[in-house]
C-alpha cells in the first residue's frame, strides 16, 4: 500500500496533493481507491489522532461530497460523490477507532498482521486458560439446571476482561502517541504488534463470555 502523493485535476490539470477538491478550480476529484486514509481525511500522517478534530474534518468533508447533495447532478458527479463518500466513510471508520487505526498504521509500515493473532499471546496464556476453564464450568452448571449460581461468577469474569481491555487500549493510545519517527521505531513497532495481538485475542475471549452470558440470562 504505497501512498499516492500528487495527482492532476481532471478539469484544470493543476497538479496537487491527493484531496477531494482541486485547490485551484475546486472541482471534485475522484480519489484513487488506494489513497491512504490520512490523506483522505487531510490530517497529519501520524498514528496519534486528535479525535475531536478528526470528527470535525469528517463532518466538513461529508457536507461537501455526500451523494445526497448531488442527486440533481450529472452522472459523473453522482458517481464521483458515491465513490468518494464510500472511501471517506471507510477511512473515518478505521481512523476513529484506536485499535483499527493501530492495525492500519502497522500495515502502512509494511507489517503483515492477522496471521499471528491466532496464537495465544504469551502474556495472556494464563488468563485464557483460567477463563476457558471457568466457561466450561458455567456451561456444565447450566446443563445441570444450576444457571443461577453461575451468573455472579460470569459477571466477575466479564468485568475482569473488560478492565483488562481498557488497560490494553490505554497502553495502545499511549504507544501510538510516542511515534515520532526517531530511533526506537523498531522497538515501538514490536510493542504495538504485541498490544494489538493481545487486544484481538482478548476480544474473542470477551465475545465468548458475552455469548455465554446472553444464553444464561435468557435461560
Amino acid at each position: 500500500m504505497s501512498p499516492v502523493d500528487t495527482v492532476r485535476c481532471w478539469r484544470c490539470a493543476y497538479e496537487h496533493q491527493v484531496g477531494f477538491f482541486c485547490p485551484s478550480c475546486h472541482a471534485m476529484q475522484l480519489l484513487p481507491a488506494q489513497a491512504d486514509y490520512f490523506s483522505v481525511l487531510d490530517i497529519p500522517r501520524n498514528p496519534a489522532v486528535d479525535e475531536a478534530a478528526l470528527m470535525q474534518r469528517y463532518y466538513e468533508l461529508s457536507r461537501r461530497l455526500h451523494p445526497d447533495l448531488y442527486q440533481t447532478g450529472t452522472a459523473e458527479e453522482k458517481e464521483a460523490s458515491l465513490k468518494n463518500a464510500a472511501l471517506l466513510n471507510r477511512a473515518y471508520r478505521v481512523l476513529r477507532d484506536v485499535v483499527q487505526r493501530g492495525q492500519y498504521w502497522l500495515e502502512l509500515q509494511g507489517e503483515q498482521l492477522g496471521k499471528e493473532n491466532n496464537r495465544v499471546p504469551p502474556a495472556l496464556a494464563a488468563l485464557v486458560f483460567t477463563v476457558q476453564e471457568k466457561l466450561a464450568e458455567v456451561r456444565e452448571a447450566r446443563a445441570d439446571g444450576k444457571a443461577e449460581e453461575s451468573k455472579a461468577e460470569l459477571s466477575e469474569i466479564r468485568a475482569d476482561l473488560e478492565n483488562q481491555m481498557k488497560q490494553l487500549r490505554t497502553a495502545l493510545i499511549d504507544n501510538l502517541g510516542q511515534w515520532n519517527g526517531d530511533g526506537h521505531v523498531a522497538e515501538l513497532r514490536q510493542k504495538l504488534k504485541r498490544l494489538l495481538s493481545e487486544i484481538a485475542y482478548l476480544r474473542t475471549l470477551l465475545r465468548d463470555v458475552e455469548k455465554e452470558s446472553d444464553t444464561l440470562w435468557n435461560a
Partner: protein, 603 residues
Amino acid sequence: MERIVGIDLGTTNSLIAVVEQDSPRVIPDLQTGDALLPSVVAFFADGRIAVGQEAKALLAEQPLTTIQSVKRFMGLGMEHVSAEDRRRYRFADDQGIVRFALHDRQLTPPEVSALILRALRERAEAYLKEPIQKVVITVPAYFNDSQRQATKDAGRLAGLEVVRLLNEPTAASLAYGLDKKEEGLIAVYDFGGGTFDISLLRLHTGIFEVLATNGDTRLGGDDIDQRIADRFLLTGMSETLQHDPHIASRARRVAEEAKRALSSEQETRLELTLPEKDIHITRTLTRREMEEAIEDIIARTLAPCRQALKDAGLEPRDIEAVVMVGGSTRMPLVRQRVGEFFARTPLTDLNPDEVVVLGAAVQADTLSGRRKDMLLLDVVPLSLGIETMGGVMSRLLERNTTIPTSVKEMFTTAVDDQTAVDIHVLQGERELAQDCRSLARFKIPIEPLPAGVPRVEVTFMIDANGILSVTATDLRTKRERSVEVKPSYGLTDEEVERLLEESIDFAEEDVTRRLLIEARTEADTVLHATEKQLRQHAALLVEGEEARILSAVKTLQEAKSGEDYNLIRDLIDAVTDVTTPFAQRIMDTSIGEALGGKELSEI
C-alpha cells in the same frame, strides 16, 4: 426543481407530507381532513377496491379479503408466515412467494402496498394540484434487503419513482432536530404497529449521524392487540371459535380500542358480542391487568436498545434526549419502561404518528436540491458477507457501517481444479450461513488451479439507499461478474414489468387523472390572469367585450370542477380566444407607456 414528497408507509397507518415555505406539513385528505390513512385494503367480489377508512370499517365484515398490516409480509417467503397469519388470510401457495388469494385475484404484498401508495398519491395531487412522481418512502431501520426491495417495488407499481428509502427513526430524528434545534446524542425509540426500531444518533451542526441501530421487524402494537384479545376475550372459547377469522378479527378490534382507552383511563369495558355465534362477552379491563399481560412484549424492546448502545460504545446515561415515535409509545407503560432504561423522561411532545413522515418530507426536500443545510449519515442495519468453507458466514461489512460504503476482500478455493466459485451473499448476525438471510447467489468462472492458488476479489458496494451490489473478479483472468442484489422472495424485474402492464387499467386511470389535474391547474392560471387584466385594464375594454369574457370565464369555472379534462382544455382555449384582442391592447399600451419617456435612440 422537481418536487419530491415524503411517505410513511406504516403498518397501521400511512401518511404523506411535503415541505412548503421551508417547513414540513402533513397533507390531509381534502374531504375528511384526516391526516392518517389506515393501511388497510379491502377487495370486493366485483373487483372494486377500497383503501383506508372505508376498508378498515370492513375488517370485521370481510376479514379474509380485507388486508391489514400488509407491511409485516413485505419481502417474506411463505415459510416466514406464522400459523396465526395463515389462519387470518387465504394464501395462493403454501411455499415460495407470498400471494394473498382475494376472490379471483392473487396479489403480492408489494401490490397491496402499491394500492395504499396510490391512495396517498391521489391525496397529495388533489392538494398540491400537480402530478407527483418522485417520493421518499420510509422503512423500519431494521428492514433487511428483501424488505427494502419489496418497498421499492411497491413504489414502482404505484407509478412512483422511489428516490430514497429512508430509515424511520432517522427520519424522526430529522423532524425532531429541526424542530428543537438541539445538538448532542439522542435515541429514537420507534415502536409502531408492527415493527420496533431503536436508533442512536449524534446531532451536530446540521449533520445527523446514525451511530447504531437495532430492532425487531416483527414486534409492534399488533402483538399487543393480539395478546389482549387472547388473554381477555378468546380465552375459554373452543379452538374452533378462537380460530374463526371473524371472531378473531372482531376480538383484535375490541382489544385495540381497549388498549387505546387505557392510555388515558385506568379501566375500560371490553365488549364482544356476536349473537350468531352465541358469543356475549362483557367485562372490565383495568390498565394494571392489561399491563401485566403485555409486560414481556414491552421488555422485548429493551434488548435491541442494549445492543445498539453497546455497538455505539455508549452507556444509557450518555444519551441526552429520547425521542418517542410510533403509536405504541402512547402507552404509559412503554413510556415508563423507556424512561427507566435511559434514566430520563422520554420526549413525547411531537406527534408520534406524524414525526416520521415530516422527517421524510425534509429529506425529500434535500434530495430535490432545495435544502442544503442538513445532511444525514445513515448506516447499514445488518452485517453483510458471503458464505465460505463449512457453511460459515464470512462478514465483509459489519452492521452500523456508515453508507455509502465499499469493501474488498480476497478469497481463494479449497479444492483443486475448481472451475467456478459460488458466491453466496448473506445478511445477518449469526455465525452460520444457514441462519443468515440469503440475498443472492451467483457463480464466477475461474481458471482451474490447485486449491488456494486462485485469487477471487469480492467487492461489496452499498449506495446511499442501502442497496447492495456485489462484484467478484478472478484476478488472474480478470473475469468479472457482478449483481445488484435482488431478494430471494422479491419480485423479479420481469414480474414487476408484467404487473405494471397488467395494471394498465390503473395506468389509464392515472393518465386521465394526471391530465385532469394539469388541465385544472392551467385553467386556474388563465382565470387568474384574466381576472387580473379585467381589474387593472378595464379602461381598455371595448363595447360588449367584458360580458363576452365574463361569460367564457363562467363556463370555464363550471367545467373546472367537473371531470372532463377535454372540455376544460376547450374552454381554456375559448377564454384565450375571447381575451386575445384585449390582451393585445394591454400589451400595446404598456409598451407605449414604457417608451413614453425615452428618446428614440435608446431602443
